[in-house]
Symmetry: C2
Subunit: 664 residues, 2 copies
């Protein structure tokens, strides 16, 4: 009863279907018909065989290279290439990481790779009470019965808000592919403050904030977040016919208001969106698209030899909406424009343009000089460089063929997925199949593509372990890319860490890119699958360490305001926590009561967090200094239930407790 396309099955059968990594390499080679570039390769260009032991430690594959940055720029103690942060020293950079199928975001210290924080968003977090407190439920969204609408998620791409071309430390956004949610994190307290479920979208993949407004020069900061969709689905009526009529499934590209966290507009598109990039001038947003064939089976998705980087003219779209040139999907009020190929053939009126790139591309990244989008080939061993001024020229009617916006197509190796930059004109592309990173020069790639055969854009290659995906150098996606550290997110770790059972960690590797050649300096195991990340200097963030009690309307300001009030069977218990006690430390309710506990931590000392655990009632949360949280539940079990402080706070922390007495 095979429903899998015959062609794919044949391919799989021919490859033995088990020899994954070898077969992946083989499939890449067969599909693409090209061998990896071999120039300037430090290590072996071949992928590590699936079952073979790891190659020896990197010092052999990555000889020490001269570190050109001044020591103070490096900001760490130790020899060149050392990432050791000695006790009492601080990391020099923040890493902002997506959490993958854990549904959270993570803050790392770089270069040490140490995880400093996990920020829950899509999924409940028992430690802080995310998903238990009334405040977090309001952010996450609930069903009519008050339970959470979703408790699982799959965060992929994370990016921060911009001002004047660098991160302003205000927000980070990360997408939940699983349930099509956009999560916003406020970076002052490093907590999730808004979650938006995108309508009509399934398989929400790439995101990117804009960097300034396309029209108003005074808006030099992020006001939009662009969101791509992967999966084709029926976009309007759902009935027995439409769900089975795959020829009429569709996709949308969504623009979200960054501040309000509401959808501004959506655009009908062809194809499946992979990643999203935005130009530094605010005028263009692009998404790499595979499956422009609009296929629903594996062979159909790969039938065309050319896919696209679809580039949107933001100002034109928003002017069209102002002019009333939009429709709706379903019952909501969101304006929808048409950015499909057929509706956008005239450059003078086109809202979007399809720049041709080889089939099934993956990432798209904007160079820090603002000039180019670089599309990674995935099934093509190339990166395609698109000059953004030429795209604007096309929209202005000054370029006859959009294909001419492609100014380079550089052969980098097998399975190029993502590209980052060092601010010195070089690009670094992950090669999934080769398990390498390729460093190449953008200007030289353009010269070579223009016909200068004497130029070799490839500067260096280095083995990484293994199968790299995302890559990002220090503030590479800002105008201040400095080319000091580079993180590489490897999808497989295999034998790089002590064995921990069948589920392996992934391997986030750190490379020193200050020299001509890359140097591998650190392996960090990570719980899968933190797709994407950005790294930037610590001076760009200034988080607050203690809350402002006035930000919490329910705050219980002192022991005098604490106590129990009853309204029918609704009981409100106001509690203050101060090390090492709660006030009150005992209260009585009756079975059947609806109990709301409001808890304020009135301690002011930094790091003096208290917890509240209520046994057998499945309730637990933390309150940080000056913070207030609340929970509501039904007292459905009689007995004595000791609430206790779950977060070590004092020498008498164990004694910090109180009783909820539930009378039958």
């Amino acid at each position: 009863m095979s429903l899998l396309g015959k062609k794919a099955l044949d391919v799989a059968a021919n490859l033995g279907r088990r020899r994954f990594l070898n077969s992946a390499a083989a499939l890449g080679a067969v599909t693409v018909g090209l061998a990896a570039c071999k120039e300037n390769t430090q290590g072996s260009a071949a992928s590590a065989p699936a079952a073979a032991p790891a190659p020896a430690a990197s010092p052999k594959t990555a000889p020490k290279t001269e570190i050109t940055a001044a020591p103070e720029t490096r900001g760490f103690v130790g020899g060149a290439g050392s990432t050791e942060i000695h006790p009492g020293q601080l990391d020099t950079h923040y890493g902002v990481w997506s959490g993958g199928h854990t549904g959270d975001a993570r803050i790392l210290g770089i270069p040490s790779g140490r995880e400093l924080h996990r920020i829950p968003g899509c999924c409940p977090d028992p430690m802080v009470g995310w998903g238990w407190t009334n405040e977090s439920k309001a952010v996450m969204g609930t069903k009519p019965d008050g339970t959470l609408e979703f408790t699982t998620g799959d965060t992929h791409h994370i990016h921060c808000s911009y001002k004047d071309g660098i991160y302003d430390g205000k927000y980070a956004w990360v997408n939940d592919k699983l349930n099509a949610r956009l999560v916003r994190i406020r970076m002052d307290y490093m907590v999730t403050d808004k979650i938006l479920k995108l309508p009509h979208v399934q398989g929400f993949h790439g995101i990117f904030p804009d960097k300034r407004d396309p029209v108003d020069p005074n808006i030099n900061y992020t006001t939009r977040v662009f969101c791509g969709q992967e999966f084709h689905v029926p976009l309007e009526k759902i009935d027995a016919k439409t769900v089975n009529d795959d020829a009429n499934y569709g996709c949308v590209f969504t623009c979200v208001d960054a501040e309000k966290m509401e959808v501004k507009w959506q655009a009908r598109i062809d194809g499946n969106c992979d990643l999203v990039a935005t130009s530094f001038d605010g005028k263009l947003a692009g998404t790499n698209q595979y499956n422009t064939e609009n296929g629903v089976t594996y062979p159909d998705m790969m039938s065309a030899e050319v896919d696209a980087c679809l580039i949107f003219n933001v100002a034109r779209i928003e002017q069209a909406i102002k002019d009333g040139k939009f429709t709706h999907l379903g019952n909501n009020k969101i304006p929808v424009v048409d950015c499909r190929l057929d509706a956008n053939k005239d450059p003078k009126t086109a809202l979007a343009v399809r720049v041709p790139v080889p089939k099934n591309p993956h990432g798209v990244n904007a160079t820090p000089d603002g000039k180019y989008f670089v599309c990674s080939g995935k099934l093509s061993p190339t990166c395609t460089v698109i000059e953004l001024q030429k795209v604007l020229d096309w929209f202005d009617g000054n370029l006859d063929d959009i294909a001419k916006a492609v100014v380079a197509e550089v052969e980098v190796g097998l399975g190029p997925l993502h590209t980052t930059f060092d601010g010195r004109g070089n690009a670094y592309t992950t090669l999934f199949l080769d398990s390498q990173v390729c460093k190449w020069n953008i200007d030289k790639a353009i010269k070579k593509y223009a016909g200068d055969k004497s130029v070799n854009p490839i500067i260096d290659k280095i083995d990484v372990m293994y199968q790299p995906g995302h890559i990002n150098a220090t503030h590479a996606e800002t105008i201040e890319a400095d080319g000091v550290w580079m993180g590489v997110g490897n999808k497989f770790s295999k034998d790089r860490f002590l064995p921990i059972g069948p589920l392996h960690p992934e391997n986030d590797q750190l490379l020193d890119i200050t020299g001509e050649r890359m140097v591998l300096v650190h392996d960090t195991p990570v719980r899968g699958e933190p797709h994407d990340f950005v790294i930037f200097k610590r001076e760009w963030l200034n988080p607050k360490q203690v809350y402002d009690m006035d930000d919490f309307p329910l705050a219980v300001h002192s022991a005098e305001e604490a106590g129990v009030t009853r309204n029918g069977n609704k009981v409100t218990v106001r509690i203050v926590a101060f090390a090492p006690a709660y006030e009150p430390n005992v209260f009585n309710v009756k079975v059947g009561d609806e109990v709301t506990i409001i808890l304020t931590n009135i301690d002011r000392v930094e790091d003096l967090t208290h917890g509240f655990g209520l046994p057998d009632y499945n309730i637990q949360f933390l309150v940080n200094p000056q913070e207030t949280k609340s929970v509501t539940f039904k007292a459905d079990k009689p007995g004595v239930f000791w609430y206790y402080c779950t977060n070590f706070c004092h020498a008498l922390h164990l004694e910090m407790r109180g009783r909820m007495i539930v009378e039958p």
Copy 2:
């Protein structure tokens, strides 16, 4: 309406109530009436003030010391005291960590401190699908409606199974304080395989496995896990009278069958259990007890000057049960014996004995030579050393006063919480209030207590950052304690890491203890609050990297076995995953159907894990190589739902997907 005891409020008021760390130090000093020992102190004996900046890096407070272990024992490259593990190198030790209020367990590499794995147990884990799959729900426990009974937890103490006095790599256990559950992890696959909710218990705190049978010499391995209770509650009838009658609340100590994960017996006790320790000969289990006063308010809990290490005679208790000398609590069949003070005054028949220790002790740890339990004083600046042979002598009628089992009471500093050992006769005790670790010699402490005033047992002190709790040296709780590395779990990190908002990480510090003086070598930030941990050499574990398909009764062995079957409105969908495809990749159901998806990963390659995400149906889980999992849900929404691989598996991973078509 203050319900807090007046005495405590007065104390708090006098202390200003805000200046936590200072007040904690002051409270300790006031209560105990003793100053910290100042001998041999490397750094300042005073706790770091709450608001002051951190002291300079440890090199100043911990001068370099001669490393006496041979380099090959150290197993890492770098200078003395370096923890840097270069790319391609492996850590030398496993760290098995409790996860705290995240409800999981964690595997770390030591000395790098890198987190290799998180093992969900008490709480759902969206990444692996723990709490979503039918298999994990069966382990976690469900309510009659099929939803999970508990979704939050608070894991505290983690210990591994023993054979011949060392870890055998079979199991680890960790307790959930919040919902009184004992979680067992099988260490071959590093997954939770059993969870037991302890009856009658609230505030389940310390645990420890036994190390051999007290009677049968052939049973030289763990067969019991001992579990302490903190919170006094009504143990039998729950009615309006008993819940308010705090004078008649009680506690039990529980013995669990390590293999069956069933309660073997329970013992009525006085007081609140903190930690648990077991003797290497299997004969004794001990628990440090505070609140032997059985108070329910803060001042009452601290009224007595003396509390206890309660030590159980395991063989006697089990013989008593064989002899039918037990009762029951409530309706279950668990035999319950009486280990309260009044019932155990005659040494010849006593089932347990109360060894007096200063008020409100905290941890209790067994020395690796098998001779002693060391109780840490918490509110007393002392550690109490109990000679286990003398306790056995008391049970045998050969010691007239159990107080004589105390062979030392060494002054270590303010706020001693936990103690570990180096196998060379030295103990290391965390001082919560002093923010230090004190190294002291056990034999010298005994000599001094016996009257030799010329002896000074204190060898070294070192500042740690800040407020340390648990402490463990490499395989310190086995007969092969080797005194190489020592971990210290600090409850506060304050300024040791880049700021990440109000919620600070904790700080697990690593110290080199091979020399006479301790050397602080690494700060690892950790998400709170990983209470306890053990560290042991990597050779003691041998996890399996690929599952055996035969272990899964529902396994779908090949694409030929895949497909859809229907029985009324119950639909079973058998799917195989193999990179980069599912088979089948489309199936239809109708709204209202109960759908069970059974998914087998038929790839055999190590590290080739697939995922399964089902949008808008809130379903996500992983399948490792050769693993099978299942989920059951109601198809309650019509539409097209693309299931997709959530775990990057192949260059065409993004294309690995299929459709569940739900017809209206």
